[in-house]
């Protein structure tokens, strides 16, 4: 298997704080990969660098063998890397379906200026968007302002609208954070289903260990901005450095 998404030796400093210090990660095609680490270890910064929201000081990002280092967010998205945010970032004053349509047209370029003004140009987008809302289970709210959704529903909307553009790799920043346990299982099921049925590749940042261990095939551990270790959950769970740095004892009590 080839690495579909690869970040190598990424360095990023904010003033005097070295947020990333040579972090590397490989995500194989068709794999659900996890990225864990203590607070402030640079997980979200690495996401931001990969998706073009932050510029790396050093290092390279490759998608399908092609360098996308420091490309702008819209270009990264257009090549096929979609992401969600830790604190959901939806468009609160657009309806749920409009949120979906924004993402749906993101990867295509309008043929001419007039197509920008056409309303019916995206009827097929609308159908696809409605299907995906059904997939995550919020299609009843399609015509509601997204700002009126609950936090959990926003998480689902964000997942759906990343899916609508059909990216090859999906980066999820704490999909289970602040969400009730039933919904956590619902989200995990959807990820598994997408991975199994459509071969979608995922990279997931998550603090919920049960969620990560149960879902991810490989896990990379970040600490102080560098990748400490990478491997399948069983290895990670028993790695001494990881246990010291991050996991503590609670995981051994609750194997999954």
């Amino acid at each position: 298997m080839t690495a579909l998404l690869r970040a190598e030796g990424i360095k990023k400093a904010y003033g005097g704080v070295q947020a990333l210090n040579g972090a590397s990660i490989d995500v194989d095609e068709g794999c659900v990969a996890g990225l864990i680490g203590p607070n402030g270890s640079g997980k979200t910064t690495l996401f931001n660098v990969i998706t073009g929201y932050e510029r790396a000081d050093e290092g390279d990002v490759y998608f399908a063998g092609q360098a996308i280092t420091n490309a702008s967010p819209d270009k990264v998205f257009a090549t096929g890397v979609g992401r969600t945010f830790q604190l959901t970032r939806i468009f609160p004053r657009l309806t749920v379906i409009e949120n979906m349509l924004i993402a749906a047209q993101g990867r295509e370029r309008p043929k001419n200026l007039l197509s920008w003004f056409g309303k019916d140009a995206w009827t097929q987008h609308r159908r696809h968007a409605t299907e995906l809302l059904g997939f995550v289970g919020i299609e009843r709210h399609a015509n509601v302002l997204a700002g009126s959704l609950s936090y959990g529903q926003r998480k689902l909307l964000e997942l759906a609208y990343v899916l609508v553009a059909d990216p090859a790799v999906i980066l999820l920043d704490e999909p289970a954070g602040g969400v009730n346990p039933t919904l956590v299982n619902h989200i995990a099921d959807r990820i598994r289903q997408l991975n199994a049925e459509q071969g979608k590749t995922f990279l997931i940042v998550e603090h919920n260990m049960e969620f990560v261990m149960g879902l991810c095939a490989t896990i990379t551990v970040l600490e102080s901005g560098s990748s400490v270790v990478s491997g399948p959950p069983d290895i990670i769970r028993t790695d001494k450095r990881v246990l010291d740095a991050y996991l503590g004892a609670d995981l051994e009590e609750d194997p999954r």
């Binding site: 468009f91 997939f135 959990g152 609208y161």
Partner: protein, 379 residues
């Protein structure tokens, strides 16, 4: 059984929608007849003058709304386009020796000038957001006013005179009324087309979260700049018509600092971001200002501005979202009175399997949830 209930409610819904649509269409038609007949019925120049100015400000406020109302970038630099349109028409008419009515062909030219000015203006100002953007638009405005004072072709404080029209005074305003009406209608049509298009959706996504929109593939700079250019072009066109109408422009009338404040006031009074609201705001404020200025007790116009400021404060206090959105809310409240709350929110976390069971099991499922929710779950 429940099927037929849902069916009935759907039929009622669609017949309501047809009624709604025909009401709207009829209303627009009546409105069109009224605005077209207006100068014929009230041919008194003092009255048609109100009409011309009202239409000028309807255009300007709608043009402002296309950019600022959709993107949330509050521009206080629209006078740049208004004054430039005026000066462009004046300079071109004298440069190309166009006289009389033939100078009207220069109105679209003024629009092109406005669009061209909007490109560098937008490229610079749209790099920054919120307060910084507002400050930059004001700075650019003053640069243009200074240029009007100091460049040679603008003739400093003397300003420029429009080509002379040898029309009789009695019907002088009427052609201006119809030209302004045409440009106003075009601007409102553009605003409406943009509102319902993918372009408009992208603009509103920028308003909500520009970075996120960018991350979803919206080319934000291009989209913002396009709206800014459209808005600038329409403003410059109506600016040139205004210049023709008042026959002269000076730096402090073409580039008037109060101009942009008035537009913003109109938009906020009527309903920020709403097309109808902006039009309504312009229709209320501009004639009111003109009327107050003609009253001897408010001579000088300053008192009228204070009064308008007071009106604005009242609006902000009692309907902060503006007239149209607030009225819309009241109407929906009256219409939906007695109906069950929209979409009973069942817990979203319910897995699909149990979700279906719960829906069939619970006794009190309302018609709305049967209509839309029965196909729920992933497939």
């Amino acid at each position: 059984m429940s099927e037929s209930v849902a069916d009935g409610s759907i039929r009622k819904e669609s017949s309501m929608r047809i009624l709604d649509r025909s009401l709207k269409g009829g209303g627009l038609l009546v409105l069109a007849v009224i605005v077209i007949a207006f100068p014929q019925v009230y041919s008194n120049p003092a009255i048609t003058n109100y009409g011309v100015y009202a239409l000028i400000y309807v255009t300007v406020a709608s043009a402002w709304n296309i950019f600022s109302g959709n993107t949330g970038y509050i521009s206080l630099g629209m006078a740049v386009f208004y004054g430039s349109g005026a000066y462009a028409l004046g300079a071109a008419a004298s440069g190309w020796h166009l006289q009389g009515t033939s100078a009207f062909y220069l109105v679209p030219f003024a629009g092109v000038v406005g669009a061209i000015i909007a490109v560098p203006f937008g490229l610079i100002a749209l790099r920054v957001r919120r307060h910084t953007f507002i400050v930059i638009t004001i700075a650019v405005f003053f640069i243009f006013q200074l240029m009007a004072y100091n460049l040679s072709f603008t003739h400093g404080t003397i300003g420029m005179n429009a080509p002379f029209l040898s029309w009789p005074a009695a019907g002088y305003n009427t052609p201006f009324y119809y030209i302004a009406l045409a440009i106003a209608a075009l601007t409102i049509l553009l605003a409406w087309l943009i509102r319902r298009s993918r372009f408009g959706l992208q603009l509103r996504a920028i308003r909500d979260d520009e970075d996120r929109a960018r991350g979803l593939g919206v080319r934000t700079m291009r989209v913002k700049l396009s709206a800014f250019i459209i808005s600038g072009a329409m403003t410059a066109m109506i600016g040139s018509v205004w210049f023709f109408y008042v026959t002269q422009v000076q730096p402090n009338t073409g580039f008037d600092p109060l101009f942009d404040l008035t537009i913003v006031l109109m938009a906020f009074l009527g309903g920020y971001g709403s097309i109808a609201g902006t039009v309504l705001g312009a229709l209320i404020i501009e004639p009111l200002t003109l009327w107050l200025n003609t009253q001897p007790q408010f001579s000088g116009g300053y008192l009228s501005q204070i009064l308008l400021g007071a009106v604005f404060l009242l609006v902000v206090l009692f309907m902060p979202r503006g007239i149209v959105p607030t009225a819309g809310e009241w109407i929906t409240k009256i219409r939906t009175r007695g109906r069950p709350a929209v979409m009973p929110t069942t817990s979203i976390g319910t897995p699909d399997a149990t979700g279906a069971g719960a829906a069939s099991g619970s006794g009190s499922v309302s018609a709305t949830s049967i209509g839309s929710g029965s196909t729920g779950g992933a497939r």
